[in-house]
Structure formats: C-alpha cells, structure tokens
Assembly symmetry: C2
Homo-oligomer: 351 residues x 2
C-alpha cells in the first residue's frame, strides 16, 4: 500500500499505542503500582490524556517547558519533574506551574534544594520534592541511603518545600539494588521522623520486572507506549507492538545491493542504543540501514535489496523517543487509515 | 562570565561566523571557484544573505521545504537542491519554487528525471538538472562517467528540463578521483553534443583542497560557517574558529570526578563522526563528555572535574549542522555580548 503522505514522516498507530497503554496499566494494577508515564516518548497531550484515562496517576516530564506544553490543553493535573531545576527563569516558571497542577520535583544536592526553597518560600503552595538516588546508573542521584536521608532532612527543613519521597532511574536489571537502597533509605528517613510517601522508579527495558522491587510505589516508563527496536531486541515486545514507524521513500537504487531512502539522522537520529544499524525495515529483516547522513539513509543487503525508486518502506527506529522530537507533527493512523496530523506540542522543549 | 540565557542554549558568535564566511570566500575567489554554501549548517536566512553578500553565487539545500523557508525573507535568488525529488506533492512545490528563484536540482536515475519532466513539461520556466555522480562516497550518484553521459542525454531530451552539468559529494581525500571522473564525464557529455556548464563538488573537511580538482567550477560547503569539533580534529580549523557552541549548566556533581549538565542528545545529538565523546568543553580539554541521555550529559575527568552546581560551560559539538536542527532559536552573540534570539527558520524541514 502507498500512504498519501509526503515522506519522510513519522507515523503513530493509535490502535497499537492504546493497546500498549492498557497492557502496562493492567500490569501496574495487578502489582499495586502507580503508573506515571514519561511523556518524552510521545510529547503529545492527547496521548497523555489517554494514559491518565487508563489509570495513570499523572505524568513525568524532565523540563519545565515540557510540562508547560503538556498541560496547556487541560486534562492533566499531576506532574513529576524528574530534574534538578536551577536558575531564576526556570524557578519562576516552576512556581507558576505549581499553581496550576499538583507538582513534585526531584533534587540530588543541597544547592538545588536551596534554589527551590528560595523560589517557594515567598508563599503560595509549597513544593513537593523527592530525593533522587543513584542505584547504579551513575548519572544523577545521591550515592548512599545515608546521603538520601541527609538531603531529605534538608528538604524537610527548607521553607516552602515538603519532602515527599525517593526517586531513582536505575540501570537495567537492578531491581535488587533498588529494593536494597530504597529499603535502607526509607528506614533512615523514618528514623529521622520523615514520612516517605512515594518511592518512584522507572525505565522501559525493565518495566515488566517492576514488581521485583516491591518497595517501589510508582513506576515511570516512557517508551512502552510506542516501543521501538531497542525494546524488541531486549525481548520486551514484538514488532507488532511498535506503534511508531518512520515512513520513507526510496530515492535511489545505485546498485542491486544498495538503496538510498529519504530518511536520515534528521528523522531517525544517530541513536544506536548498542545496536547495529539505524532501524528495522518492517517485513524485511534481511535489510540493514547501515549508514545515515542528515537527509539520506543507506540500505544494504547481502544480495539484492529488491527495492525500487519511489517505493515506500516503514522503519521501526532504534529509539522512538528521540524520533518524536525531530518532527513538528506526527501522523496518527489506525491500521492503514490515516486519521490526520498531530502537532508534537512538547517537541524541542529543552529548557 | 555568566550568560543571562536559560540553558541549554545554542550560541552563535557572529564575529566568528562572518570571519569564516569571508575566509572561505577569499579562498574560492583565489582559485576561481564559485562558492555555493550549504545552508544545512545554520538554517538561517540572515546568514545565507550574508554569504551571498560576501560573494556566494547562491545556496545549496537538500529539501524543497528547506528552500521554501530560506527564500521566504528575500535576498536569495539562486538555489541548488542536491536531492532526487520524488512525489506529486514535492514536485508541485518544486514547480512553484522554480517560478521564484533560479533553481537547479540533481538526479541520479531515470525515474527521477521522468518525474521532473512530467512536472515541468506543462509550461513555465524549464528546470535545470545536474547529474549526481558517485566519486567514491557510495551514497547516491551514477557509478561511471558513461552512466553520467547517458543520464545527461536523457535529461537533455526530456520535455521541461535542461541539462546543466555534473554534481558530486565526494568522500574525504578524493580530489584525484573527482578530477578523473569529471574530466571523463564532461568529455563524454561534450561528445554527445551537450554543454557542461557547472561541475559542482563539496564537503567541508576537504574545502581547503577544493583547488586540487581544477575541473570543478563550484564548491558546496556547509560547516565552514560554524566549524565544529570534527573539523578541529581533522585540522581544518582551530577552536577559536568555532562559531557555534552549546551553553549548558552543571546541575549535579555527584562525585569529584563526575558532573552532570543539562545538555543531552536533545541538543548535542548522538553524532560521533568517528570521535570519542560528545563535544569539547571550551577551555577544558581535560574534560570528557562521555555519555548522553536525552536531557543529561555526563562529564568525567581523570581527576576532579572542578565543576560546581550552577556553573555554565560552553561546548563545541562534534557536528554543528545537526545541533542547529534541534532548537527553535539560536542566540546570536558578538564575543560576550548577546544580540538576541534568532529563529531557525529551516529547522526540522525534512520533506
């Protein structure tokens, strides 16, 4: 079939996305976990609203500007910002955000806590703050349960702030480490007289193992709504569960074993996530997207590619989240039927 | 110094960019080469106009939508689209574009030529077409001088089209291959009664060697206006010639040897271009940006990073062109003085 859409284009099959939402929500319900989707994968208010309708307790964003874009249409009243917010401009916008939704942020150091406190001490709703903990990913996060307790105490004493709990973004396969760190940190916080009402963990690759750290009360997953080649390669889902694809056109077939498509890094990005090649051509596991430049993708095969100039192909990208960020709009489909273009409201919101 | 700009932000030093424009224009003038800058690097009409004012004969774009965005403000009346244009929607827009500017496109196969001819045969200005030749990069392009001649003949006989010349995007270090291919292709075209009025080559890494293929009449370079870490690593320029930098803030220093900044792949991208790490921290060659996620960058050092929470750093990215595509606006500077935000008019124009 030929889609009557100019290429390259990002397609989102809503039937698949909705099934993915419902499946993970059912898993969370079964294990008494709150589901708090990370909107970075879709950046679409309409899909966040669908996640809330299915039972999500709220959304996760990384940046103030993302949250602003996501709540503009209404229907979302609970946001967790899993980022150290720094600087007068962002703090001012954070304060405005806190007047509109139930808001929590994270912090992993006392300078960030001091900035948050200064911004929220003047009045208005107090801000809920979770302590970000490093359970092995070595990105942000306090390094030990004792350090988590210390920062929790600092937060609890800071004017304008309320200590709400603990948060982590663990590496894959770290359920035991999360359970151990959080159990100890929670006990230390309670010994200090604090209440730990939320323990938030996340990560799509391990989402079906979230119950293996039963101390966790809330799980943040982003990619589960679309899935992608990286999750298929990890055995987390099947190709038929991949809601986001890139529609591309073959523009050149210089030799039998090489074809060039009109999708390069400007749509597929350079993200490899440990994989070889830049995506999976649906229905053609024999093809390799072996090289990208900005506007060209090169497809090779051991024999002939069998591709012809003008032919359309659909690609499951390595990483769905970053592809959503490359385009102003995605095309919503149900199966073969195009429902229309949807603006990616939170695209490019880096601040 | 501290820039009063929310981070992450893309900064463009206009003094450096203008010096880069003038330096390469002077080189082209010295070697009697037409300079046709690729706008993919900046995507800003105001800088394309500056390139034209310095002596460029026109601009290079890859996509119809880029060209539309670049000419909207006026001041640019000559566009080469170095891409196989396919599909009714794009061809219709291409026809409209040809009424507004002096336009040429490339083709490397007869299906593309047939589509162009069908769109332009109906009347209006005829379209100039160059044959794209593969001189070793193995992306698009006809494989041999004889194939170039054959396609040139096809173009010359196609209603609505005018054969204009030959174009190539060679691999680095291929001046001799370009000279040999183009000399033979030009002779074959002339034997067939055709005039080859343009031979267009390009590529920033080899821009100072463009004169080594003297048959080339026109050179397309994009990155020379900003430069980047990849070009510094190749010895093409110095750090002080890099006009585009990413301003980032340190948001966490979990241990002495590790700091986290608020710039990840959503600004710096995952492009490695064969390098290790994701950018160069200006003034701190001892620091390594060793890992990016979407909104976080991890900086490590052999000893302590010496970075503090809240501190700003400036990063020369591996690849300037793809960074321009990640943000709605860049900040124009002259030295330490911020002149203001400039919308990236041709950002995200993938079609």
């Amino acid at each position: 079939m030929l889609f009557e859409i100019e290429t390259p284009a990002v397609l989102v099959d809503l039937d698949i996305a909705e099934a993915n939402i419902d499946r993970f929500q059912a898993y969370c319900r079964l294990h008494d976990l709150n589901c708090r989707p990370h909107i970075k994968t879709h950046k679409l208010p309409v899909l966040a609203q669908r996640q809330i309708a299915a039972g999500a307790v709220g959304i996760t964003c990384q940046k103030v500007s993302e949250a602003e874009a996501m709540i503009a249409d209404g229907g979302i009243d609970d946001v967790l910002l899993t980022y150290n917010v720094i600087g007068a401009g962002k703090l001012s916008r954070l304060r405005a955000l806190a007047e509109r939704v139930t808001l929590a942020v994270v912090a992993d150091n006392s300078q960030v806590v001091a900035g948050l406190s200064e911004a929220f001490a003047a009045g208005g709703r107090p801000l809920s703050v979770l302590v970000e903990c490093d359970t092995g990913a070595h990105r942000c996060g306090v390094a030990s349960p004792a350090a988590a307790r210390d920062l929790a105490v600092t937060i609890s004493r800071a004017p304008g702030l309320v200590f709400k709990g603990l948060m982590t973004y663990p590496p894959v396969g770290a359920a035991a480490a999360v359970q151990a760190f959080m159990t100890e940190a929670k006990a230390l916080c309670e010994q200090a007289g604090l209440t730990v009402s939320v323990i938030s963990s996340g990560g799509a690759p391990d989402m079906w193992n979230a119950h293996q750290a039963p101390i966790v009360t809330e799980y943040r997953s982003g990619t589960y709504i679309y899935n992608d080649r990286s999750l298929v390669s990890r055995g987390v889902c099947q190709w038929s569960d991949c809601a986001l694809t890139v529609l591309a056109t073959v523009v050149s077939v210089p030799e039998a074993g090489r074809a060039i498509i009109d999708a390069g890094t400007k749509v597929l990005t350079s993200d490899l996530l440990g994989l070889q090649g830049y995506g999976h051509v649906l229905g053609r596991p024999d093809l390799m997207i072996d090289q990208l430049s900005e506007e060209h993708g090169r497809i090779t095969a051991k024999g002939a590619t069998g591709l012809a100039v003008g032919q359309q192909i659909r690609i499951v990208p390595n990483h769905a989240c970053v592809v959503s960020n490359m385009v102003d709009a995605v095309y919503a489909l149900r199966g073969d039927k195009v429902e229309g273009a949807v603006l990616v409201a939170a695209r490019g919101k880096v601040q």
